[in-house]
Symmetry: C2
Subunit: 282 residues, 2 copies
DNA sequence: CTTTATGTGCAAATTAATTACAATCAGGTT
DNA sequence: AACCTGATTGTAATTAATTTGCACATAAAG
């Protein structure tokens, strides 16, 4: 039994459970944070069942015993602290907002981490290393991501550019050659303008790495799609975690490229760091 | 005792510990993942001490007992799976890099979350709501953060702008009035140019919210400093998590402002969403 | 209305964690 | 160098918690 799947397992097994075990399951799902601090007697009392029933419940969801169950639940809670309560409401205090924003961002990151296709990442790193020019395209919230990525790769001695203007994208795309790489960012995966740019890039023989939801038009159009699926809450008060996931993936790619480039690049980075210090006080 | 600080507490207390407690501490720090599955007898045996010593150790680090200790450790591990092994090396595989980047980013976020000054955040939200104009300043990696923030707040019907050019910053700053707000981003907290801009903004009577390390010149100069302390690894292959922390804080501020503005803003956001869809396929 | 299978709780037994106390060790003093 | 004192550690007893075995209850089927 792995931590990430406990609450899921409970929900799955729930219909197949006996009446009193179900009482336990429902109680655990409703107040998981309290359960991890409870003894078996407390939980039995609160769920209105006997202690052995609690144990049978633990076994039913794939744990060795009650302690094992608590431990796994605790881990799952820590990993997804916001389980079942991410949505931000009008009445949340700023403190609640803060933890929800951070927790859901963390949730998103862990989720993306566990679903990344490493093989694709590897392809992407190789393509980036081999490229003469690397360009970053994005609109809206993804424009900032593209500029960040440009800054990140620019430090790696690559010829980089970032465009969030469709005209500039098209003009620049036209001048790309085979071997060059474009990284396209799209949270929706269905922005028309970015699809146009992608087509143009491909018709010039350059590769397109796309960070977009799987099976989206952008992912389908890309040469090397890197799928990033984030439950985009349709809520109004959404923390827009997907752009942060994109940034993290950019970090991975940048570090991958830096490794491949080897020691002379590292010397260059040290130099950069040193020069930056002259722009700072003290 | 909060989960996020257990290993820290162990490290802190370590020099003040007795010899045999230290044995336990070192063992726990070296193989935390195994400890959470151990019984007290196992841990005592492996650390070459007696069982009561283990308990004394647990108490010394602020836990109620051994079970409490294991529970908290399990939570910390789940939340920061990468404890003690974040540094990325030349020889790491891409898979290792990936988990290290994500895990250290998660670490950073949780750490920042636990050290945010909510009172300052509240002040910042109030200042932003009251402002006629809001501008975002940043250089280098923080430039992308500033543009992202501009995009985020622009949607909230505020008059916003973002500048990463010191001349533009200065010109714009000169035209600000009391009640207006500038949000300054600085990862180092010691960039000369941003300090110049901050001074200019203040001399025009506008407020400066700064996201920067505590006690840094930028934080000191700000009207409302929001301290963000990230262990900036001096490593070459650094994931630069601080910019992601800045983004998360921006999310909190943006949601705070959205809440204050109330329902007519929500209608506006819905409208925006609907219009965006016309730029998308399918 | 009985029978049987299944589910549930009580109480005993087992296992683990904690406390009390005694032995030991280190450092300082005569 | 021997002794004392206080802190530190381990042994053994205690207490608390979990788990198991078994008997009772309950519901469905004959």
């Amino acid at each position: 039994m792995k931590p990430a799947e406990l609450t899921l397992a409970i929900s799955t097994e729930l219909p197949a459970m006996r009446r009193s075990e179900r009482k336990v399951a429902e109680f655990v799902l409703s107040r998981p944070a309290e359960v991890i601090r409870m003894r078996i007697v407390d939980l039995a009392e609160q769920a209105q069942v006997s202690e052995p029933t609690v144990i049978r419940f633990c076994r039913a969801v794939g744990c060795k015993g009650f302690l094992d169950f608590k431990l796994i639940l605790a881990q799952q809670l820590a990993a997804s602290p916001s389980y079942g309560q991410i949505a931000i409401t009008d009445t949340d205090s700023l403190a609640e907002c803060t933890s929800k924003v951070f927790d859901s961002t963390v949730d998103t990151l862990l989720n993306v981490r566990d679903h990344l296709d490493l093989h694709r990442l590897d392809e992407a790193v190789k393509a980036l290393c081999a490229a003469n020019r690397v360009e970053f395209y994005g609109f809206g919230a993804s424009a900032a991501v593209a500029f960040d990525a440009q800054h990140r790769f620019f430090r790696l001695q690559l010829a980089t550019a970032a465009y969030s203007d469709p005209h500039l994208q098209n003009m620049s795309a036209t001048s790309l050659s085979p071997g060059d790489v474009v990284v396209a960012f799209s949270q929706s995966g269905r922005t028309k303008a970015i699809l146009d740019s992608i087509d143009l890039v491909k018709s010039n023989g350059a590769a397109v790495i796309a960070l977009a939801p799987s099976k989206s038009p952008v992912a389908t159009a890309a040469t090397i799609p890197i799928n990033i699926d984030v439950e985009e809450d349709s809520q109004i008060y959404t923390p827009l975690s997907s752009r942060i996931a994109h940034l993290a993936v950019i970090d991975v790619l940048a570090i991958g490229v830096a490794q491949q480039k080897g020691p002379e690049l590292q010397e260059h980075l040290r130099q950069l760091q040193a020069n930056l210090n002259s722009l700072r006080v003290k």
